[in-house]
């Protein structure tokens, strides 16, 4: 197994963990962190799979850079919304009674 494929498989595992986190975790901050883990997983797959031949490929690296910018913007919006929600309701979760986790 090449190193590139190993990275890609690790990326798939990270993506699955992150996706499960976004769905299962209740606290908004945890959901947002899980989303970032998920995105990093996808980036790792993108770079890893393209490097299987041993020659670095610039196109997926450019894609990942763009993807990181998008993910930062999305995280900022999510954090802004979560803050506004907390300021209004005093809660860290969307549904009531799940604040303890």
């Amino acid at each position: 197994m090449s190193t590139g494929l190993l990275y890609a498989l690790a990326g798939v595992v990270l993506f699955a963990l992150g996706a499960a986190g976004v769905i299962v975790l209740a606290h908004l901050l945890r959901k947002i962190l899980a989303f970032n883990v998920m995105g990093s997983g996808a980036f790792l797959v993108l770079v890893g799979l393209a490097q299987r031949t041993g020659v670095p490929d610039p196109v997926p690296q450019a894609m990942v850079l763009t993807g990181i910018v998008v993910a930062v913007a999305a995280t900022a919006l999510a954090l802004g919304l979560a803050r506004a929600w907390h300021a209004r309701t005093g809660r860290g979760t969307l549904t009531e009674g799940e604040d303890r986790d």
Binding site: V12, A19, F35, V45, M63, V70, A82
Partner: protein
């Protein structure tokens, strides 16, 4: 042919970015006037694009002279032009509507963020319709999602924040799945260009690409709010201010549907037949469940939002019926355009009814028939398209769909289409019946600016009259590379 830097395709993306930025600096009053002028210009650009397309055929525009793979290609064909035209027509009418709506004292605060976000939303949407590669589509999809979430939260109320947060989480997870799909496709073929991928996928189909197709299509279906991923739509579209609901319900959900259609007809054509039955079944479930919920909804905008869930179901009925003669495809695109116009009209009318009565329940509508008759007429006209009665474009779409089902001998879908039409009649007449009741003694009506009523009417009339000009639309759609 015009010079490269004057290409309308590129300006359809640059122009909304420009006015969005300027509207943010200029504030809501001047920002609104700027947006309306710029949107009229955008409509002219889209018409020019359509005229060029009819004259010279489909083409590719390399932005800034830098072609793929390092630069970005814009792809102009019949399907993208039809959706660009729909977007600019709905947007310009809703901008005039929004200027009047946000002049109302209760809604003035929301206008600050509405105009810049609407500009970014339209830039992302135009870019999405013109993109020719999977990764660029990911970026536009994400930008569209972020602008749409911002628009839902524009009012700043508790319900709106919760709806925006839910919408954001669904949107981010869905585009994450799409991105992983893109990564797998690039890993398998070393390209993300839709045109290049077609023959590559047809020649060789590794397991990773099956997974990629599944991830991308499920992600996009979640963004299109196809049953059972529809749960985020009614709160998000039902709680936002009326012009925002109209933009989101008429246009934004169509963008991800457009992408499903592109992938289904293009690179994933050879995989499509496996999932077609499932997509059709989910569409049928959406029609029945969405219409049922619309019949039971207590609040007017919830009713209209559930109707969107139902009408989006029709779009997915086309997949089991797609054949070489293209009937089902024409039905799908006609339904997209018809629903886009009619749903913008319904939300615009619902906004007027809520301003006039000061209440947002269906029950509170008693007596509006005498106060805002034009708006109610617009609601009824748009209802004709939603129910699918002749001569509306909705009728044409459903007729073509039934025709396609008959030709392929799949009778089951026809029952769903007819049942959906009857249920739609149920929830539209529920509103109309209530509106014609006598107003209770204590009810008060607020005056509403005339332009709000007229814009709802123009959109509704367009959705009905389009049925008479369906042939032109189908001819435009037929222009492929």
């Amino acid at each position: 042919m015009t010079e490269a830097w004057l290409d309308p395709a590129a300006w359809l993306i640059v122009l909304p970015l420009l006015w969005a930025g300027l509207a943010f600096l200029a504030g809501p009053g001047r920002g609104a006037r700027l947006a309306i002028v710029a949107l009229a210009l955008q409509l002219a650009l889209a018409l020019k694009l359509a005229a060029d397309l009819t004259a010279t055929g489909a083409r590719v525009h390399a932005v800034g002279g830098w072609g793929a793979p390092l630069g970005i290609d814009l792809m102009i064909d019949g399907l993208s032009t039809v959706l660009l035209l729909l977007t600019q027509v709905v947007a310009v009418a809703l901008a005039v509507y929004a200027q009047g709506y946000f002049a109302d004292a209760h809604h003035r605060r929301e206008a600050t963020w509405f105009w810049p976000l609407a500009g970014f939303l339209l830039a992302a949407m135009n870019a999405l319709f013109l993109s020719a590669d999977l990764f660029n589509l990911y970026v536009t999809l994400e930008l569209l999602g972020l602008a749409a979430v911002g628009l839902v939260a524009v009012g700043g109320g508790t319900a709106q924040l919760a709806a925006a947060m839910r919408y954001l989480l669904v949107s981010l997870t869905a585009s994450g799945a799409y991105l992983l799909g893109v990564a797998l496709v690039y890993g398998a073929y070393g390209t993300v260009s839709i045109a290049t991928l077609g023959p590559l996928v047809a020649a060789q189909l590794p397991l990773a690409v099956w997974l990629a197709a599944g991830l991308m299509l499920v992600g996009l279906m979640a963004k299109t709010a196809l049953f059972p991923f529809h749960f985020w739509l009614p709160p998000a579209h039902g709680s936002a201010p009326a012009p925002v609901s109209a933009l989101l319900s008429a246009l934004v959900v169509k963008a991800s549907f457009y992408l499903v259609l592109r992938l289904w007809l293009g690179p994933f054509a050879s995989l499509g037949s496996t999932a077609a039955g499932l997509a059709g079944a989910l569409g049928a479930a959406a029609i029945l469940w969405g219409s049922w919920q619309a019949l039971r909804a207590q609040r007017l905008k919830q009713l209209v939002a559930w109707s969107t869930v139902a009408q989006l179901g029709y779009l997915f009925l086309i997949f089991p019926l797609l054949t070489a003669d293209g009937l089902a495809l024409q039905a799908g695109v006609l339904q997209t355009v018809a629903h886009g116009l009619a749903k913008a009209a319904l939300f615009a009318a619902a906004g007027v009814l809520m301003l006039a009565t000061g209440r947002d329940t269906v029950e509170g509508l008693a007596g509006v028939a005498g106060r805002v008759p034009l708006t109610l007429f617009a609601f009824g006209l748009a209802g004709i398209t939603i129910m699918g009665l002749p001569p509306s474009a909705g009728f044409l779409a459903k007729w073509l769909l039934i025709d396609a089902a008959l030709e392929s001998g799949q009778w089951g879908w026809i029952l769903v289409i007819i049942a959906g039409g009857l249920l739609a009649a149920g929830y539209i007449f529920r509103v109309l019946r209530q509106a014609f009741l006598l107003a209770p003694e204590e009810s008060r009506f607020h005056p509403v600016p005339r332009r709000l009523e007229w814009m709802a009417f123009v959109l509704a009339a367009a959705s009905v009259l389009l049925g008479l000009r369906g042939a032109e639309l189908v001819a435009l759609l037929g222009i492929t590379p």
